[in-house]
Amino acid sequence: MTSLAPAPSTTDAVRVTGIGKRFPGVIANHDISFTIPAGTIHAIVGENGAGKSTLMKILYGVQKPDEGSIEVQGEKVSFSTPSDAIARGIGMVFQHFQLADNLTVLENVVLGAEKLHGIGGDARAKIEEISSQYGFGLDPDELVETLGVGERQRVEILKVLYRGARIVILDEPTAVLVPQEVDALFDNLRELKAEGHTLIFISHKLDEVLKIADDITVIRRGTTVDTVKPADVTSRKLAELMVGSELPSPSTEESTVTDRVELEVRGLEVVDAAGRPVLSDIDLTIHRGEVLGIAGVEGNGQTELVEAIVGMLHPSAGTMRLGDQDISSWHTRKRRENGIGFIPEDRHRHGLLLEAPLWENRILGHQTRPPSVKGGWLNRRGAREDTERIISQYDVRTPGPDTTAGALSGGNQQKFIVGREMSSEPVLLIASHPTRGVDVGAQAQIWDHIREARRNGLAVLLISADLDELIGLSDTIEVILRGRLVGTFDPQTVTPQDLGSAMTGAGEEK
């Protein structure tokens, strides 16, 4: 194992050329190219599902690319496992810490790297050396369970430095930190950079990226869009690069908004496990025939808002009314029976049974409603026939209703879900990133379906990271930032730039 990495040089630490990675039916990455000079902090930004995590897995040897090449310190490399990457001086700090709570800092660090400096005095000396060199302030003998989140993250970083990493990949490192901890982390990162380490910083928090990075590479829909210097861009410009503006425009026609309120949310508050509010004082009203768009940088409470309305999450305060009924205390099933359709953000986790045939997936979420169910009994023929209807009406490309859902491509899975949720005449549709990870053709079709349903009086809550989609489909746009609704915009007059600055909270100051 090489703990002696080459001294910082003027060569490039990492050069990625034309990387592509395909999964059945999906292209996760294609033609990804960028260069990271040694001793710099390089940020990689892009919305969820843009292909960041696949790219990182490739760089860290978890997955092999189908095409393209990677050079590290000027040498061409091919990683089969993460140990190959570690041997080349690449380390990764995962978003979800991989620490054993009941072990000490020392034990966590040496675990799996016992051959480097043993497990005794040498290892302790090495850990203390790294800790003081970069100002980590870690005591090797402290139990990890007594450490705070920021300290645990420093243990993770120490772990990769201990293994001799000169290139450190940090996956969404600030997602778990409070602002003060973020500042401390940035100080540590600057120390590391000063010592000649190269840092790859993955994030979608634009203001942080602008603060810390030397270069920023933007990824959208699986490919690199541009590499820019923080000095040359604003967060608005960066947001634009991230969500794109050259996609087919989903413009709506004349307004179909009625004055009948379909969903009314008042004073909604949700707190996380630690009791910190993730949603506060949310007031929303959606009328029949209205599409309400929620704009916001990922992780500002959108997921919680959706889950609270569907009933998967229990709010700590607030009321919800659907039509003229108070649904606050209703269980998910009852809400769905009363006409809430749900296109989930993560279709694999929440929208489909991947190993079940399509006709069984037709029943999912509709277990108590015709045509697939009669009394407590499944109506297999009804479910099958209705699946056929969805397949033809929504252009789901599949051999038939007996095909396993997991065998379809992402776009076709999504079209199937849209078709299913539009069945049984919903009154409210919650569409969370309805065209994420979907090809352009399917995207246009999904937009058409939402527009048509809106004409027929459906109320829609649309959450999207794609500003063009939001502007094109919505009748009203609310911006969510740190769990609060911070501004209402009229899509007729708003520009992606306006939204971008409201989303990052940069609007007022700049």
Binding site: G25, L352, Q367, L378, A442
Partner: protein, 363 residues
């Protein structure tokens, strides 16, 4: 995928597993200096009629046990406690039937119902612990097995009657026994009447699983709990309900022997069936027909193995070893086939919708 290929893939895994198990067992016997040819000769001899009846009896009993385990497994709930539920259920039935509060077959019926209730309640403890306190059902059911053993042992000593050297519950009055079914004229060994419960339970399991909303929710929860939650399934209630059902079926396991042969709960109580059921359920992939085949295979091996020691001087423990290897091999083979099938289907779907799909992926 055409039906022939589908069936071929389904059969491939167990066949492969049996082949591997056979090879390992032979190798083990050869290494330990045993008579390999004699072993196979004994194992593969067509059983006598008396043995055939024994195999069927044991198959029915194992089938009930396998079903009990499968109900939980179908929703990723590992009820390791079938053994304890079986024991509690059988004991309760034996005590009730022995007291004979009701006459004749009404006594039998009451005892069977109470066996199911007792098994269900015993399993329900684990279900409740899981949903209220987050205790893993694996841990709690293992501990409940142990508690069931001690509790029943204590109670038998307390309320039981001692005849000669053995202590057991009161003997059930003869009018409440369930007679056997004579299959072959040349042997007095009969099929337990209550073994037919296995068929009833199997059909009920199949219908429940495939034709009811409850069964759909159960399978959906097993396949993806997050998707089930989003679809409005009350997962906590499903956990408790399926534990209760699983325990109720486990309560039935002891009924054929209790009413057909033993007539009391005592030293002749057959241990370990609850654990064997877990194996049988795994072997049968929690499918009602698969479990029946698994139960048949295990019963066949056990019955044939009984005479190994007498005929060829091989310890019947080799049968248990073989069963273990079959299980290990089958679990691996199933996973292997599952992945292969998924890949096969993905590529065949991609092929069938070829033109548009590739275009789409490039867009």
């Amino acid at each position: 995928m055409n039906p022939a290929k589908r069936i071929g893939l389904a059969v491939a895994a167990p066949v492969l597993a049996f082949a591997i198990a056979g090879i390992f067992a032979s190798a083990l016997l050869a290494v330990t200096g045993n008579d390999v040819a004699g072993f196979w000769d004994t194992m593969l001899t067509w059983p006598e009629n008396r043995q055939l009846v024994n195999i069927l009896n044991q198959t029915g009993i194992l089938y009930l046990s396998g079903l009990a385990a499968a109900i939980g497994f179908r929703m990723n709930l590992f009820n390791i406690g079938v053994e304890g539920q079986y024991r509690i259920g059988t004991f309760v039935a034996a005590v009730v039937a022995g007291e004979a509060w009701l006459p004749g077959k009404a006594n039998t019926l009451l005892a069977i119902v109470l066996a199911m209730v007792a098994g269900a309640l015993w399993a329900g403890i684990a279900g409740l612990l899981r949903v209220t306190r987050g205790v893993s059902e694996v841990i709690s059911t293992i501990m409940l097995n142990s508690i069931a053993g001690l509790l029943v042992g204590y109670l038998v000593a307390k309320v039981g009657v001692t005849t000669g050297v053995s202590t057991g519950t009161k003997t059930i009055p003869e009018e409440s026994w369930v007679g056997g079914i004579q299959i072959f004229g040349d042997t007095p060994t009969e099929l337990y009447g209550l073994v037919l419960l296995a068929i009833v339970a199997g059909v009920a399991f199949h219908v429940m699983l495939n034709n009811t909303t409850f069964g759909f929710n159960l399978r959906a929860t097993g396949r993806s709990e997050s998707a089930a939650v989003a679809a409005g399934v009350d997962v906590k209630r499903m956990v408790v309900t399926s534990m209760l059902l699983s325990g109720a079926v486990a309560g039935l396991i002891g009924m054929p022997v209790l009413f057909g042969q033993a007539h009391n709960y005592g030293t002749s109580f057959q241990l370990g069936i609850g654990f064997a059921g877990i194996a049988v359920a795994l072997l049968g992939r929690n499918h009602p027909v698969g479990i029946a085949l698994g139960a048949l295979v295990f019963s066949f091996l056990a019955e044939q193995g009984n005479v190994l020691n007498i005929l060829v001087g091989v310890s019947p423990d080799i049968v248990a070893v073989t069963q273990g290897i079959i299980l290990l091999a089958v679990v691996i083979a199933y996973e292997f086939v599952r992945r292969y099938r998924l890949r096969l289907e993905q590529s065949s779907v991609a092929e069938q919708v070829a033109g548009p799909a590739t275009e789409e992926a490039k867009a």
